[in-house]
Subunit: 334 residues, 2 copies
Amino acid sequence: MTTISDVARVAGVSRSTVSHALSGKRPISEATRNRINEAIADLGYTANAGARALATSKSSIMGLIVPFTPEEFAPSTMQYVLVVAETARSLGYDVLLVTEEEGAAGITRVTQSNLVDGVILLDVKRHDDRLAALASANQPGVLLGAPEESVSFDVVDLDFAEAGKRLVEHLFEEGHREIIFLTLPDSIFEMDLGYAWRVRDAAISTAAELGVELRIVVGDSDPQRRAETLSAALENRGTATALLVHNDGALADLQQILQELSLRVPDDIAVLGIFPEQFGRMFSLPYTAIETSAALVASQAVRLLANRIERPESPFVRTLLEPIITDRGTSRKV
Amino acid sequence: MTTISDVARVAGVSRSTVSHALSGKRPISEATRNRINEAIADLGYTANAGARALATSKSSIMGLIVPFTPEEFAPSTMQYVLVVAETARSLGYDVLLVTEEEGAAGITRVTQSNLVDGVILLDVKRHDDRLAALASANQPGVLLGAPEESVSFDVVDLDFAEAGKRLVEHLFEEGHREIIFLTLPDSIFEMDLGYAWRVRDAAISTAAELGVELRIVVGDSDPQRRAETLSAALENRGTATALLVHNDGALADLQQILQELSLRVPDDIAVLGIFPEQFGRMFSLPYTAIETSAALVASQAVRLLANRIERPESPFVRTLLEPIITDRGTSRKV
DNA sequence: CTGAAAGCGCTTACAG
DNA sequence: CTGAAAGCGCTTACAG
């Protein structure tokens, strides 16, 4: 192991000078700086992370608390994880992965040991018991997903309530007055995930305000039955003219089901969805939709955390990103 | 911040005694141990990670080097990541996520700084330039994916060559003599990923040995064209009686395409595949197949790394897991 | 512009 | 069974 003392010796300066050359925290003469850089290159020196963390009380590591869902197919989670890692790196941080197997204890462990400088919580629920653990930590935290109550953390999320509202408004403006709304499965609602509740609640209240009939069909978590539920809903659509879908799996099934039932979009039924842009690309989803962007939300979360680590006193921000509808012509009323 | 000195003072013992009580490295009397544990609980003490790392030269962190594929839909990668994190935690390690944006430099950075005790490489290629960086590190590494040459690292992978062989043998035994083999897209082969090459090469050579005609159709990376390619291959199947698929996306499309072409399985065409078990579950794939298990491979990799960190001199192992065919009746010749 | 020295919070021989 | 002390490799006032 080569240490800062080795570098100092080879460069013919003191350790403190090397340290300052590294951090840039005080002016170093051109000549010494060159000798130091040369020595560093020759020796292949990298500062010892533990020693630096001990001396500065900063590890330059962000903890990423990911929901523990081994049985789940979590394509979009990976997006968040990758974008967090990248963005963190670009700001000089590494990322420690903390799965929720340990529950809130994981948060306490990595913060209390000073392993991390701060923490990002993925998939924050409307009432999330991890927030208590986070609140008693000495390090800051940023929430990806908005809790119901206002909290002393930075929060980033898509504005899902606004999304639900705009989706229904959009269909209303297109002339639809009777809409089938396929939601996420009950299990997601039971997990208290805000994005499920907010889209649904906003869709319901907006429909009520506009005098639109919204027929709610709850998605099934089993892939087989999920397709059957959707198929049945379409067959028994009656006078409904539009299908609003907030359910990734069902959207993937939809194309085949429409074909089986010989339904044309938008001629026989208009379709409007909300899904992650990644997912849409993977399955070439052709529908008018609000596309959620993991990249946007995750990178913003990292920037907020970095900022708070470096400026702990800045005021808390709650960023709700505006949902945008991309019109692909499938929501027209024909 | 509460330190070991605080604990020592409250418990009325020396710091070294507290340290030994924590590590269990020397006998502590019942009475002192109780006082220490009480003090720890009262104060909410957790050892400072940086200080411990500095003193022991061990961070209890494993670095996980993940391929950098932000544009890709990486469902199975998430599986690996989660299983690695879990298994590591169960063995007392945390996981630092290193994306490949930095390339091999990331490996050098986290090892040289002693941030990690060892490293796991995901998606190792047949000729992987990251191995050079790993070889010059002071910490051990475990490869997930087998390189072509034999290396001084532990290696875990499914035995994909054996898989390719067994798939063709299975079809041969079922009576098929003319097989369409849908492979992964060229881009994957160009990335030098062993699993693509090994399945293909073994399938080709086994077919040759058995006198089976293997008609190779290369998958397309674009979802739309991927489906068209598959559809065309099935329409123009001629006298081929079986379809062998090593292409997740195509397998997801298959059900719909078969229906469009009014082909029954296995009556009109037998189907045999190889895909991640997660993927199969997500899409309810009903085919006879070799299912690859992220969980098995990833947890084994972590165990190997933990073992090597703790016993650096143990001989290197190259674990190639035996591929098992699950027969679901879709590969019969009718 | 540079250096000597204290200190960060642990662990671990060494001594008893 | 327990303690005093050195040392891990950095950073940062303090001094010049």
